[in-house]
Symmetry: C2
Subunit: 374 residues, 2 copies
């Protein structure tokens, strides 16, 4: 059964997430329902393309689409650069038939594919139509809602990009069965985040069903992905272009999380792993600031441990280093880190002007209580 | 006196063009009226920057702005590439203070600066605020309305970009006094275009006052720029993202114009020169198709000659070559060139399915009647 999750953006940007299992075979029909053209291109990476490009193409052709090309760019996060955009744009231009703005770009892959293909769709000919088929849990619950696309510069992550909303997200839980275990766990960290920021029921559910969830039971995943996407959609609809601060709550755990990723050159932690540790940091800092009740941290830590996600800061990156990196975060205002802190289980707020000493005290407490990782 | 020309776009994208003389000294105050931040960067090219960056900076500082940097990228059209975007983005990131989305990017220069700085403003941090100060006649009457930004790929012109509307356009006619003569004339060709597509009074006015216009009389220019921007604004408001075909009428003369530029590697003709010849082609093709009355061509040619703009096709690029290039135009649909043809003086329409033989007959006629250029 397919569940439709509406993302009710204004200005003609509203779209649905089609959530279910075994959706790939019906992808062509679903996309035909929203497309303005019967011509499309698939953008992917080799590993994913090998698994799913053929059945996707068959489904598209059965629905009357012409798949002009399947274009793969190199696997890995390193490909998320403007050079890849140049190469993909040249490849689109080299196709025998010229594209027009109604041509559908289909992103088949994880977060990197969604970010790159979405940005390509945003800028090629100043904007093509765009459909996302996320193949990782992280992409399903995070980047499939919100319209953020973009690439990295050597200087920093996601520094250039665009808001470009898809016409459809096909959230096929069956695709998660081929996901490496560590990537799957990393995605769960973002699901935990939705529980902490907006819905404690998610945390209870995850604690009760952790065995089934780790076994990728599709009913459990359906529930968790649905709630995650609904929460994110509510937040994004209230603040589509990140202008009124509402959207900032999605960054719970990300201030220290991004610093951890940066301090380790994006090589040590998967995004969700860094966010897991960063959520614990946010709790400790929140307690040091007198904002966060200890029950939030206790509930969070118990669940992260049950799932097998990390909670300890690394021994080789000291707190001063991490704090210096937070000030460079692109969401810092005038060089000051802003923290999203929980004031209750299921509720967070953006907190400006947390003193450096308070933040450092929180991180120190985290190391003291939860130890350090090598 | 400053004339305000409203560009009444929907969705919070409405802005005004401030048109007048000696506006640079008051630029800071005008920008303060629309900016959401007192921090800005100026993006320019060396030649223009030498002339105007200092007085602009003084005006901004007098209005309370902090000019974080003036960043020049190399002169010339060759700089209009994604590599320049990478370099400019890195330069923004390297500034001591991190930018936020309210930081104002001020484009000081001609069309290339507007396109590059506008695209930078569109994608850096997924969108900064943007103000344009055009310094060429072409940029004043063409790129200051419409929100098109973008860069070239090796494969073709303006292949990647974004629609990103400015918060203000400061159209200071005094800046045109330093414009090289050939660039000034090139801009006039686009003004002639507005006459042909929408307002024959422009053509009468230009014919009557050609001496004053060529002497860059500011009263004459004020009238012509105002009418040009008003016409373009009407068209753009009716079709902001080029979706319903209305905006296509702005391409009158551009189908063959672009082919001429492409056939000569963008080295022989300035844009307006190619458009001048291309407008004559559009008339000849329109006559061959039985759409365009000869009076349009006669009026147009007389005016172009009076102004000193070219009307003859080049001897060394044959019609088949030019027609092949039109099919590659990114606005071609499924490989077929579409022509914007005049059906009366002051009115044009998009015409699909002009037979190749008809188009060739028109071009042949143009060569027969107006000769060929070396």
């Amino acid at each position: 059964m397919t569940t439709l999750i509406p993302v009710s953006l204004s200005g003609g940007h509203a779209y649905d997430i089609h959530l279910g299992t075994d959706l790939l075979a019906g992808a062509g029909r679903a996309i035909a329902g929203v497309a303005r053209s019967k011509r499309c291109v698939i953008i992917s990476q080799p590993r994913i393309s090998t698994l799913y490009a053929q059945p996707l193409t068959a489904s598209l052709e059965a629905a009357g689409f012409t798949v002009l090309a399947t274009i793969n760019f190199p696997d890995g996060e390193e490909a998320k650069h403007l050079e890849t955009l140049t190469n993909l744009s040249q490849a689109l231009y080299a196709l025998p038939e010229p594209l027009d703005r109604k041509t559908v770009v289909i992103a088949l892959g994880g977060g990197v594919v969604g970010d790159v293909a979405g940005f390509l769709a945003a800028i090629y000919l100043r904007g093509l139509d765009f459909v996302q088929i996320p193949t990782t849990l992280l992409a399903l619950v995070d980047s499939s809602v919100g319209g953020k696309t973009g690439v990295d510069l050597n200087a920093g992550k996601n520094l250039v990009g665009a808001f470009h909303q898809p016409r459809l997200v096909l959230a096929d839980l069956s695709l998660l069965q081929t996901l490496p275990a560590r990537d799957f766990l990393s995605g769960l960290a973002e699901v935990v985040k939705y529980g902490v920021i907006a819905d404690p029921e998610i945390l209870t559910f995850m604690a009760e069903k952790s065995g089934l969830i780790l076994a990728r039971d599709t009913d459990c995943l359906q529930h968790l992905v649905k709630r995650s996407c609904q929460i994110k959609a509510e937040v994004v609809v209230a603040d589509e272009r990140e202008e009124n601060g509402t959207r900032a709550i999605l960054n719970f755990g990300h201030t220290i999380g991004h610093a951890l990723e940066g301090a380790t050159n994006y090589a040590r932690y998967l995004h969700g792993e860094a966010v897991a540790i960063g959520m614990v940091s946010a709790c400790c800092i929140g307690e040091a600031a007198g904002v966060t009740p200890p029950v939030v941290r206790e509930t969070l830590v118990a669940l992260l441990q049950q799932l097998g996600l990390p909670i300890a800061l690394p021994a080789d990156k000291d707190d001063t280093t991490l704090m210096a990196l937070t000030a460079q975060d692109k969401k810092a205002v005038a060089g000051q880190a802003r923290f999203v802190l929980a004031d209750a289980l299921g509720h967070v707020k953006l907190q400006e002007g947390i003193a450096q000493t308070t933040a450092l005290a929180g991180l120190q407490q985290q190391r003291r209580v939860y130890g350090e990782s090598k």
